[in-house]
């Protein structure tokens, strides 16, 4: 029996070779097709095979803290800085940005479109008792959303299960729920543009500078995680931050729209 398991293990793990790294990533970068476009370019430029595990930012950070990734690519700056400060990351660099938008039913029952800023938009939703679908999964988008509610002085959890619906799922699953229930949803723009099940939902609010969405890249520390593929992780991160990498990110478009804006310094 042991032999059988070992044989199976050998036969099936032949994919793993020296220049392979695992990136613990947020879902938006994956669902938007960025990796499908970018990784072949990375492969030909650096020879590195990048395997992406796309989960929410919260889960990605926890997975990386268990050393199950060589690079972290997420969007929750304060959590990322804490990750580095706790010694799990070598360093953190801004990589690129896009923005969050509030999508909702075309009829816009809470008149979010007329809001002066995003805080006003959330107040309108809560006052109207309009449905709002939240990620509820400690992801980067969820952290952002909770920070905005707090700024608005509203505790949406009081309405949990009535108008505030915490799906505990990824961005796409939450959008499916939101569209199905004619609810408002806070989403990053890239996921929304590439999302195929929009039905009658549209962007109801956008453009507030507060909705800025910064992505960062962090190579996982070899001091905390001796198993990490440090050289390849470093090469990959440096390539993303280089002029070539930044230009490649800027060139990615869906339906003629640029999804991510490079801003490494």
């Amino acid at each position: 029996m042991k032999h059988l398991i070992i044989c199976a293990a050998l036969a099936l793990s032949s994919h793993t070779f020296a220049d392979t790294i695992i990136v613990q990533s947020t879902t938006s970068t994956k669902n938007s097709g960025l990796y499908d476009y970018l990784l072949p370019i990375v492969k030909s430029a650096t020879g590195i095979q990048v395997n992406v595990v796309a989960v929410g930012t919260g889960q990605a950070i926890k997975n990386a803290m268990r050393c199950d990734g060589d690079v972290l690519l997420v969007h929750a700056k304060s959590a990322e800085e804490k990750f580095v400060a706790d010694g799990f990351g070598e360093y953190r660099h801004d990589l690129m940005y896009n923005d969050f938008v509030i999508v909702g039913p075309q009829a816009d029952p809470a008149n979010v479109a007329g809001a002066s800023d995003v805080i006003d938009a959330l107040r309108r939703i809560s006052q109207a008792g309009a449905k709002f679908a939240s990620r509820g999964d400690d992801s980067g988008t969820h952290k952002k959303e909770r920070a905005l509610w707090q700024e608005a002085g509203i505790d949406p959890v009081k309405g949990s299960g009535r108008w505030y619906l915490e799906t505990g799922s990824g961005m796409g699953a939450t959008l499916n729920t939101g569209v199905g229930l004619s609810a408002y949803v806070l989403t990053d723009r890239a996921t929304w543009i590439t999302f195929a099940n929009k039905q009658d939902a549209v962007i109801t609010f956008e453009g507030d500078p507060t909705l800025f969405n910064q992505y960062g890249v962090i190579p996982v520390s070899a001091k905390k995680c001796p198993n990490v593929n440090q050289d390849a992780a470093e090469t990959f991160a440096r390539w993303l931050l280089s002029d070539t990498g930044q230009a490649a990110i800027a060139a990615y478009q869906v339906d003629g729209k640029q999804l991510f804006f490079p801003n490494a310094n």
């Binding site: 029996m1 293990a9 793990s13």
Partner: protein
């Protein structure tokens, strides 16, 4: 309806990505099934024909484990194989091997518990004969397994069905990595999250067709063998 057309188009066009994913699904679930059958069938049989204190409890436990949520199995195997876990040094997390391990844990109880039922029934008929012939222990287990082979194929198919259909365990330990650990169920989950519902449903139809094919094949072989035996 659109989905069925799409499913048909995917198969007809021999889409390379689709076949890679389909093949990995089959490979992972089949290897898991073979390992689980090697453990589960003898275990179920042994528990059916021997008497020892705690036997009833073992059977109860096996039956309870049949209801184990895949996501819990995935989580357990993940913590085991994580680089910071006890077996992290093997470097198996996010590989097809990790997915096989998770599925073995998931379906061994199913095969053991179901085969236990089958053999227990047989044992009530045969025990006196076997006793008078002095057939015991390992030889008895082997004799029962051979004799009940047709009924046991159903147990094995139940295990295969569970393995090929589950998503909760393989998405955690495999990571749904493109061209490495993406299988049919995790691809369906991904397409659903992208809002590509037609494509997701089409992939579901392809998976169902595969399951149908496997079941037809196994049942066909069983019928053929049975006919030859009694002819």
């Amino acid at each position: 309806m659109d989905s069925l057309v799409e499913a048909f188009r995917l198969i007809i066009s021999l889409d390379a990505d689709l076949f890679e994913i389909l093949w990995l699904s089959i490979k992972v679930s089949l290897v898991a099934l073979i390992i689980a059958a090697f453990i589960g069938l003898p275990l179920g049989t042994y528990l059916a024909i021997t008497k020892f204190p705690g036997r009833k409890f073992c059977i109860l436990l096996l039956n309870a484990l049949m209801g184990m949520p895949p996501v819990v199995v995935g989580l357990m195997v993940y913590l085991l194989l994580s680089r910071s876990g006890p077996l992290g040094w093997l470097g198996l997390l996010y590989t097809p091997t990790a997915m096989i391990i998770a599925q073995v844990v998931l379906i061994t109880p199913i095969i053991a518990a179901l085969s236990n039922q089958v053999i227990e029934h047989l044992h009530q008929e045969y025990s006196d004969t076997f006793y008078s012939m002095g057939v015991t222990g390992r030889r008895a287990v082997a004799a029962y397994l051979v004799d009940a082979r047709y009924a046991l194929t159903t147990c094995i198919l139940a295990g295969f069905g569970r393995a090929i259909a589950e998503v909760g365990a393989v998405i955690i330990v495999g990571g749904n990595i493109d061209h490495l650990t993406r299988v049919m169920t995790t691809a369906i989950a991904l397409e659903t999250s992208k809002g590509n519902l037609t494509l997701a449903l089409a992939l579901g139809a392809v998976l169902l067709a595969l399951s149908l094919l496997v079941n037809a094949l196994v049942i066909g072989v069983r019928e053929y063998a049975a006919k030859r035996q009694y002819a």
